[in-house]
C-alpha cells in the first residue's frame, strides 16, 4: 500500500467532498487513535481465540469496508490477507484509521455491516490463519 511503502503515517485526502485525514492505526501514537492503542488491543483480542481468530476493533468509531463510498471493499469473505494488509477503516472523529491484519489468513466472516458503529473490542472479522 502507498502509505506502507512511503512510510507515511498521515495523509489528507478528499473523500465524498469532505476532507478526511487518513492514518495508520498501528503507528498513530499521540494521534486521536492513540489513547486506545490499536495494535496492543487488536493483538490481545485476536489471540484469545483458537482456530479461526476474531479481529476486534481497536477503537470506537464507524466501520468502513472500503477506502471511499464508491470504492471497492478492501477485502471479501474468502480473501487471503497478508500480515499488515489493510482490511478496513474505522472512522473516529472524522479520521479514517486503517486497520491492518495482524497475521496472514483467510477471511471466514465479516462480522459488522459496512457503515455501522463499532465499539472497542468488537469483533470485525473472523480470520483463519493459513
Amino acid at each position: 500500500m502507498l502509505m506502507e511503502e512511503s512510510g507515511l503515517v498521515e495523509l489528507e485526502i478528499e473523500s465524498a467532498g469532505e476532507k478526511v485525514r487518513l492514518m495508520r492505526g498501528r503507528v498513530a501514537d499521540g494521534g486521536a487513535a492513540a489513547s486506545a492503542p490499536p495494535t496492543r488491543a487488536a493483538r490481545r483480542e485476536a489471540e484469545t481465540d483458537g482456530g479461526a481468530r476474531a479481529i476486534t476493533s481497536p477503537m470506537v468509531g464507524t466501520f468502513h469496508r472500503a477506502p471511499a463510498p464508491e470504492a471497492a471493499a478492501f477485502t471479501e469473505v474468502g480473501d487471503v490477507v497478508e500480515r499488515g494488509q489493510v482490511h478496513c477503516l474505522i472512522e473516529a472523529m472524522k479520521m479514517m484509521n486503517e486497520i491492518e491484519a495482524e497475521f496472514r489468513g483467510r477471511i471466514v466472516k465479516i462480522a459488522v455491516e459496512n457503515g455501522r458503529p463499532v465499539e472497542y473490542g468488537e469483533p470485525l472479522f473472523l480470520i483463519e490463519p493459513v
Binding site: A32, A33, S35, A36, A41, M59, V60, G61, T62, E91, A92, M93, P117, V118, E119, Y120, G121, E122
Partner: protein, 441 residues
Amino acid sequence: MFTKILIANRGEVALRVMRACRELGVATVAVCSTADRDALHARLADERVCVGPERPEDSYLNVPAVLSAALSRGADAVHPGYGLLAENGDFAEACERSGLAFIGPRVRHLRLMGDKPRARRIVEKAGVHVLPGSPEPLADLADARAVADAVGYPVLVKAAAGGGGRGLGVARDPDGLAAAFAVARTEGERAFGNNLVYVERYLERARHIEVQLIADRDRRVAILGERDCSVQRARQKLVSEGPAVDLARGLRTKLAEAATLAATAVGYTNVGSVEFLVEPEGAFHFIEMNTRVQVEHAVPEVLTGVDLVREGIRVAAGEALSLPAKIDVRGHAIECRVHAEPTRGGARVRAFHTPGGVGIRAESALEVGDVVWLEEGPLLAKVLAHAATRAEALARLRAALTELVIDGVPTNLTLLQRVLADPELARGPVHTDWLESHAAR
C-alpha cells in the same frame, strides 16, 4: 430538547443522569470499559458503547473514544456527571467542536474557575471577600514563603489546578512550608498534570458552607439554598446538611448574594455551587466554585423539590428553567457518603441492601458480585434523610444506616454511625477540623 445524550460517566451518577434523561424522554448512550460491560449503568442505558480497556485513562477519560462513541451513535449532547471529565475544559471544547452540546457551563467557565488563583482574583474584583493569599500561581518555594510570611501562618498550599480537597498541604509554621509546598506540587502534578501552586491563609474552626445555584442561558441566577459540609476527613466531605444551622442574622442572605456575585462576574450558566469558609463570628470567604453537579446535589433537591440534573439538561438545551416562582427550602436534610476504606486490592460484594422508607433517599449502583477496587476508597452509596427538623433528620439517617447492608467490602460505615451519633454534632454546627481533632482525642 436533545434527542440522545451520551453519559460520559459510570456508577450512581450515571444512573442519576439516566433518570433525568428518561423523564425528559431523551434516549441515553452509556460508555463503559471492557471491565464494565455488564455494569448497571451499561445495562440500563438504551445503548452501550465500550470505549476502551479497564484503565480509566484508556476508557472513561479517553476523550477521542468518548466523542467518537457519541458521534457514531448519533448523540447530540454529552453529560459528564461529576468527576472524570466533568471539569475538563479541553473535553468540553472538543465536544463543542464536534458539534456535541456539553451539558454544563461554558468552556470558559470551566477554564476560569479551574484556575484557582485566577478565580480568586475575578471573584474578589466582583466584591466577594477571598482569603488572603497569592494572587498568582507560584512555581517555587521562595515565592511561596514570601506570600506565607505576608499572610501569616498557618497557611494552605494548594494546587492551582486542584479542588475538591485534593492537592492540599497545610503549614502551621515556616518550618512546615517546604513539606506542604511539596505535597501540593506533587499531588497537583499527579492529579491535574499541573505543578503550579498558590498559598492561602488557613482558617481553623471555620465552617465549610456552599451555596447551590443554577443559571440559565440568559444568566438569570437562581439560588437553591446552602449546605454545611464541615464534617470532613482528610478534606473529603463525609456528611453534608442543609440548611446550614445557627447562622448569624442575615448571613444566609449575604452568602446567597456573594454566590450570585461570583456567578454573575463570569456570566455563569448551568448548575454550580460556590464554596465559602465561614468564621465563628460570621466573616466568610470565597474558596472556589464547583462548575458541575455535585455529589451532594440531592440535599438542595429534597429541600427545594427542584430536579437539578433535569434543569441542567434543560438549560444546556437552551430551554428556560422550570423553577417554582418562589423557591422555598422545606425541612432539614442530611446526607452522608459511604466509601470503601482505601486499601490494596479488591473486594467482592457478598450482600447489598439500601435503606428505604419515609424521607430516605439512597443512591448506589452497587450490585452483589461486583468487585470493588479499594485503592482510591471509591464512593459506594449515598444515603440522605429528609425530615421536618434537624433532630428528626439525624435520627432518621442513623436508623437508615443501621439498615444499609454492604457485606464483603470494608467501608466507613462505622465511622459514619459514630459521627452521626456524636452529641457535639447533634448540638449544632461543627468546623472543618472537628472530625479529625475529635477522632484524635
